[in-house]
């Protein structure tokens, strides 16, 4: 099929699909606007959770059930909790003045440039004919992972198979990345040692408490 036709082809969506998409789109956009406009960082974090749930629903709608679960566990369960933890830890959960435009003219310029980019992307997607659209380069979303009909079937099985065969090197690299991130976070968040004004016994009790 022609790529542009693929992009715009109406595949006779049913009414529940349209309703699910409309509801999740509304949830996503309201949450995203909440992140950008709320003055309190805690409210922004909660709006972010809203957006993440909406995106997870759209993942399920597009046959990516496993990724939806991972999205909720990793994003809503870990990343947003980390955000909230840091907000509470630093005590910056108070209202912030967002009316002041500290860099004169930067705000309208941001809206104009991003608006131009958005329009450009949409126009390009609607008119371009150079989307290659090669089908199934890596593998199908659903299907047996071996030729045997008793092998695991479905999208998580395919995901795992590709993750540990085609993308094995990248997978190992993410392991290294996570270790580096953990070490970096510990080093950054460590209290800097002050040898001249902190007697050794005090730092020892601080360590044990």
């Amino acid at each position: 099929m022609h790529p542009t036709l693929l992009l715009l082809a109406s595949s006779r969506p049913t009414l529940p699909d349209v309703l699910v998409f409309a509801a999740s789109a509304a949830v996503i956009l309201v949450g995203a606007l909440g992140v950008v406009t709320s003055r309190n960082p805690v409210h922004a974090a909660l709006s972010l959770v809203m957006t993440l749930f909406g995106v997870a629903v759209l993942f399920i709608e597009q046959e990516a059930d496993f990724l939806a679960a991972v999205q909720i566990i990793v994003y809503a369960g870990a990343i947003v909790v980390l955000f909230l933890f840091v907000i509470m830890f630093l005590g910056v959960d108070r209202r912030e003045e967002i009316e002041v435009d500290s860099l004169v003219g930067q705000r309208p310029l941001a809206f104009i440039l991003i608006g131009l980019t958005l329009v450009g992307v949409v126009v390009m997607a609607a008119t371009a004919h150079w989307v290659t659209g090669a089908h199934q380069v890596v593998g199908p979303i659903h299907g047996h992972i071996t030729s045997s009909p008793t092998s695991p079937y479905g999208e998580p099985a395919q995901l795992g198979k590709q993750l540990f065969t085609t993308y094995l090197f990248a997978f190992e690299a993410t392991a290294a990345l996570l270790v580096i991130a953990v070490v970096g976070a510990v080093v950054l968040a460590r209290r800097p040692p002050m040898p001249q004004d902190a007697p050794p016994e005090e730092s020892a009790t601080e360590l044990s408490s």
Binding site: L6, L7, A9, S10, S11, P13, T14, F21, A25, I28, L29, A32, V35, V36, P41, A44, L48, T51, L58, F59, E61, Q62, E63, A64, F66, L67, Y75, A78, F83, V86, F89, L90, V92, I98, S102, L103, Q106, A110, T117, L118, A125, G133, H135, V137, V138, G139, P140, I141, Q158, L159, Q162, T166, T174, L177, I180, A181, V182, A185, L188, A189
Partner: protein
């Protein structure tokens, strides 16, 4: 059968734009990080949409890697925010101007 992919791609483009505007407009470093998460989510939505349209699992595998990179980025970024807050008692990007000439 769910909606045509163009709808999802348009939604992802709008979500990315909102995140980019927030990143440019807001001055609180924590909010700027959240806007980066919005942009990463828009990219993830695009990946999953193309994975469905082309029936290719590779897009979903890439979402997996984007999730890992986002987690690592947030951990290191928030570590930097905590370290800066200890020294300067602020999370506003405009107040971090020690290098200003």
């Amino acid at each position: 059968m769910s909606l045509a992919g163009g709808w999802y791609l348009g939604l992802a483009a709008i979500l990315f734009s909102i995140g980019a505007i927030g990143l440019l407009v807001r001055r609180n470093v924590l909010i700027m990080f959240m806007c980066i998460e919005l942009m990463l989510n828009a990219a993830n939505l695009t990946f999953v949409t193309f994975a469905r349209m082309l029936n290719d699992i590779g897009g979903q595998v890439l979402v997996f890697f984007v999730l890992v990179v986002a987690a690592a980025e947030v951990v290191v970024g928030l570590g930097i925010v905590v370290a800066i807050f200890r020294r300067r008692s602020t999370t506003v990007a405009d107040d971090m101007n020690s290098l200003k000439g």
